[in-house]
C-alpha cells in the first residue's frame, strides 16, 4: 500500500479533518507501521497488567496463548509437538479467513467515510442464506452448488448493508444507528429462522433450535487437516483474493476513486461531479458483500449448521472493527490485523492448554485487548493530527499547540 493517494487533502489550518477517511489519510502520511504496532503492544501490555493484577503470570499466559494459536509451529518442524501445533495453526487461519473479510467489510466503508458497525449483522445474513442455499438443492454437482450458495450469501450481505447505505444516501440517516439496528434485526431473524418451527429449523429433529446441515456437495474442500476435524478450507484463499480485490477496487478503478473522493470530502467530490449518494450506497453494499462472503465461507467451510445458541456468542463482525482500525483500512493492514486477532481468538479459547490462565479468562482477555486497540486507534488519529498541527503551527504560535495538546 503505497499511500500515495491522488487526492489526499492537505490538512487545513491544522484542524482535524472532518471525515473519518480524512483522518485516515492523515495517518497514512504520518508514520508507517510504528503507530499500529505500538497501539497493539500497549493493548497487550495493559491486558498483561490485568492478568498480573488477578494473580497470573502474564508472560507465561501470553506464551501459552501463543502456543495455543499454533504459532509455535514454526519452531517445531520435526518434534512431536508438531501435530498439535499444526492443528492449532490451521484453526487460527480458519479464524483469520473470517476476520480478513469482516475487516474488509469495515475498512471499505471507512474509505468512503462511513463507519460500518453492521458487519456482524451482514455476516449473519450471509450465514443464513448460505445455510439455506447449501441445504436446498442437495444432489446438485458441487461446483455450481457452492457457487450459488456463495454468490447468494454475498449478495444478501450486500443488500443488508445496502439498506443502511440507501438510507444514508436518500435521507441522511446515520449509518451507525441504522447498522446497529440492522444487526439486532439480523440477530432476531436468526432466532426466528432456526427457532421452534422456524423455516430453516432442522427438518429431522423439531425439538432442537438448530438449522439443517449443509449438503455434502456444497461443502468447501479442505486442504489442510481433515474435514471431520474442522480443517482449513479453500475459503482461506478466497479471503486472500478478497484482499487483492479490495486493493484493486480502491486503487485501480473509477469506482474506488469515487468512493475515496467521497470519503475524503463529500462536498468537494460532489462539486467535482461525483454522485455522493450513489457512492455511499455502493460502498456500503460492497462492504456488506465482504461480510456476507465471510458468512458463506464459514457456513460452507466448517460450520455446516447453525443454532440459536450460536448467535449471541459470535463476535467476528465486531472484531472486524478492531482489525480494520488496527490495519488502517488497507489490504496489508487488514491481513496483519486479522492474523493477530485470529491468533488471539483461537489461542485464547479452544487452542489454549494452560495451567497459567484458564481459557474462559483468556477468552475475555481478547475482548479487553480488542477494546483497548479500538480505543487507542481512535485516539491516535487525533494524537497524530495534533502532532501535524504542531508541525504546521510551530513558527508562529507555540502556545496554541501546547493548548491543543493539553
Amino acid at each position: 500500500m503505497s499511500g500515495a493517494d491522488p487526492q489526499s487533502p492537505p490538512p487545513e489550518n491544522g484542524e482535524t479533518p472532518t471525515t473519518v477517511a480524512g483522518n485516515i489519510a492523515l495517518k497514512h502520511r504520518a508514520g508507517g507501521l510504528i503507530v499500529p504496532v505500538l497501539t497493539a503492544l500497549l493493548a497487550f501490555l495493559i491486558g498483561g497488567l490485568v492478568v498480573l493484577a488477578t494473580g497470573h503470570n502474564p508472560l507465561l499466559a501470553y506464551r501459552d496463548i501463543f502456543n495455543g494459536a499454533g504459532l509455535n509451529w514454526v519452531f517445531h518442524p520435526t518434534t512431536s509437538v508438531v501435530n498439535t501445533a499444526a492443528y492449532n495453526l490451521s484453526q487460527t487461519l480458519l479464524q483469520t479467513t473470517t476476520l480478513i473479510l469482516c475487516g474488509l467489510a469495515v475498512a471499505f466503508a471507512f474509505r468512503c467515510g462511513m463507519f460500518n458497525i453492521g458487519g456482524q449483522g451482514q455476516y449473519f445474513i450471509g450465514l443464513y442464506v448460505a445455510n439455506w442455499l447449501g441445504y436446498s438443492f442437495a444432489g446438485m454437482s458441487p461446483l455450481p452448488h457452492i457457487l450459488i450458495a456463495v454468490v447468494g450469501a454475498t449478495l444478501a450481505g450486500a443488500l443488508w448493508a445496502g439498506i443502511a447505505g440507501f438510507l444514508k444516501a436518500s435521507t441522511g440517516a446515520h449509518e451507525v444507528i441504522s447498522t446497529i439496528m440492522l444487526n439486532w434485526i439480523a440477530i432476531w431473524v436468526g432466532e426466528w429462522l432456526f427457532g421452534d418451527g422456524g423455516p430453516l429449523q432442522n427438518a429431522a429433529n423439531k425439538t432442537v433450535p438448530i438449522s439443517n446441515d449443509v449438503a455434502a456437495g456444497a461443502r468447501l474442500p479442505v486442504f489442510w487437516g481433515e474435514q471431520q476435524l474442522q480443517g482449513l478450507h479453500i475459503g482461506f484463499f478466497v479471503a486472500l483474493a478478497a484482499l487483492v480485490v479490495f486493493w484493486l477496487i480502491l486503487n485501480r478503478t473509477t469506482l474506488g476513486y469515487e468512493v475515496r473522493a467521497v470519503g475524503f470530502n463529500p462536498e468537494a467530490a460532489a462539486y467535482g461531479g461525483i454522485s455522493v449518494g450513489k457512492n455511499l450506497f455502493r460502498a456500503m453494499a460492497i462492504s456488506g458483500a465482504f461480510a456476507g462472503l465471510a458468512g458463506a465461507l464459514d457456513m460452507l467451510g466448517y460450520l455446516y449448521h447453525y443454532g440459536q445458541s450460536d448467535i449471541p456468542v459470535s463476535a467476528v463482525g465486531f472484531l472486524g472493527i478492531a482489525v480494520a482500525l488496527l490495519g488502517r483500512n488497507t489490504a496489508v493492514g487488514v491481513l496483519l490485523g486479522s492474523l493477530l486477532f485470529g491468533a488471539l481468538l483461537f489461542g485464547t479459547t479452544h487452542g489454549l492448554t494452560s495451567n497459567v490462565i484458564a481459557p474462559d479468562l483468556a477468552g475475555n482477555l481478547t475482548y479487553i485487548i480488542q477494546g483497548l486497540v479500538v480505543l487507542f486507534v481512535g485516539a491516535d488519529l487525533l494524537l497524530l493530527s495534533i502532532w501535524n498541527a504542531r508541525k504546521k503551527l510551530r513558527p508562529k504560535s507555540k502556545p496554541a499547540a501546547a493548548a491543543a495538546a493539553s
Binding site: 436518500s170 441522511g172 440517516a173 446515520h174 444507528i177 440492522l182
Partner: protein, 403 residues
Amino acid sequence: MTVWGGRLDNPVSAQLRDPATTGYVGLGLGVFAAFLGIPPIEARSIVWSILVGIVAAMLGVWTATRGRLRLGIGAVLMGLAGVGLGVLATRSGTGNLETVFNSSLIAQMFAFSTPLVFGAIAGMFSERSGVVNIGLEGMMLMGAFWGVYGADVGGSWVVGLIVGAASGGLLALLYAYFAIHLRADQIVGGTAVNFLALGITGYFFFQLYHGNYVSQGVSTIPNVHLPVISGMRFLGPAIGDLNLMIWAGFALVIVSYIVVFKTPIGLRIRACGEHPRAADTVGINVYAVRYGAVVLSGLLAALGGVYLSDGFGGGTFNDNMTAGRGFIALAAMIFGNWRPFGAFGAALLFGLSSAVALRLQVYSASASTLFNVLPYVLTLVAVAGVIGRTVPPAADGKPYVRQ
C-alpha cells in the same frame, strides 16, 4: 450536518416531514387496531391488535416530541385504547389470551422498560452536552456485574448500587478523557467502551465467580409494596408491588426534565451541546460540563444495569447480560427526540414490546420474534427521517477545541 440527523434534501420526505403526518397516521392505526378484532377482519390472534397499537403509540410519541404535543398524546392514547379494545374483541372464544394480556403485563412492561429508561436518560445527558454515547451498552453492563458483586461482597443492595454506579462512572470517565481531551472519534471510542466492558465483566465474572452463578441469597433491590393499592383488582397486580428502581426511574425522568430544561445547569449542558463556542465565550467551562455530563451518563446507565442484575434478575449475572439493552436505550433516546418524557414514552413502549414478546413465546415463536424486533425496526424507520424529524443537539459528536 449533525452526527445523527444529517439529511439530504429530498422532495418526497419534505412532504412527510411535518410531524402532523405521523400523528394522524398514529390515530388512524389506533382505530385500526381496535377494529382488527371484530368483523370483517376478525383477526383471531391478539398479536395484530397489539402490534398495530404499539406502532400507533410509537408514532404518537414521535409526534409529541416534535412539536405537536396534543396530537401526539392523542395518538398514543388511541393506540393503547386500540390494543385494549382489539384484545377485548378477540378475547371471546380463545382461552389462553387471559394469560398473555392481563394487568400484570403492565408491571412487566415497567420491569422491562426500567433499564431502558435509565439508559435513555443517561444517553440524553451525554448527548445534550455534545458527546455521543454509543458506549451506553458497556456502561450498563459494568453496572450489571459490579452492582451484583458489590451487593454480594458488601452484603447490601445499597452497596451494590454504589459500586455498580461507580464502575459505570469510571468507564465513562475513561471514555470522556478520550472523547473530550484527546478528541478521539466518539463513535469509535464508544464502540471501544462496549468491547472493554464485555471483556472486563466477562474476565472478572470468571475470576471471581469461576463463570458460575453468583451465589444464592445476594441482597437484592427490594420491591415497594403499596398497602392499599396492592389489594385492588386492576391496580394491584399492575403497580402494587413494583421494584424500587422502577419508581426511581419515574422520579429520574421528572428530575432530569426539570434539571435539563428548568435550571441554569441544564441550560449550560444544552449550550455546550448546541454551540460550545458561544458557551465558552460566556464563561462556561465546556470541558468541565461535558466531563460532568458524560460521567453522569455512565452513573445512570450503570444504575440501569444494577437494576437488571440485582433487581429484575434477582441477584444474578451472566456473560453479556445486557444483551443489547443499551442500544435499545439509545434508540429510545433518539425516538424521544433527546427529551426526557419522549425517551420515557419510547422506553415504555419498547418495554411493552419485550414483555408481550416474552408472553407470546409459549404460543407462537414467530409472533414473539415480531415483538422483539419491533423496537429496532421502528427506530430504523424513525432515524431514516422520512417522516417527522429528528433534531439532535447541533454540536452532538463534535469535539470542542479550546481557543
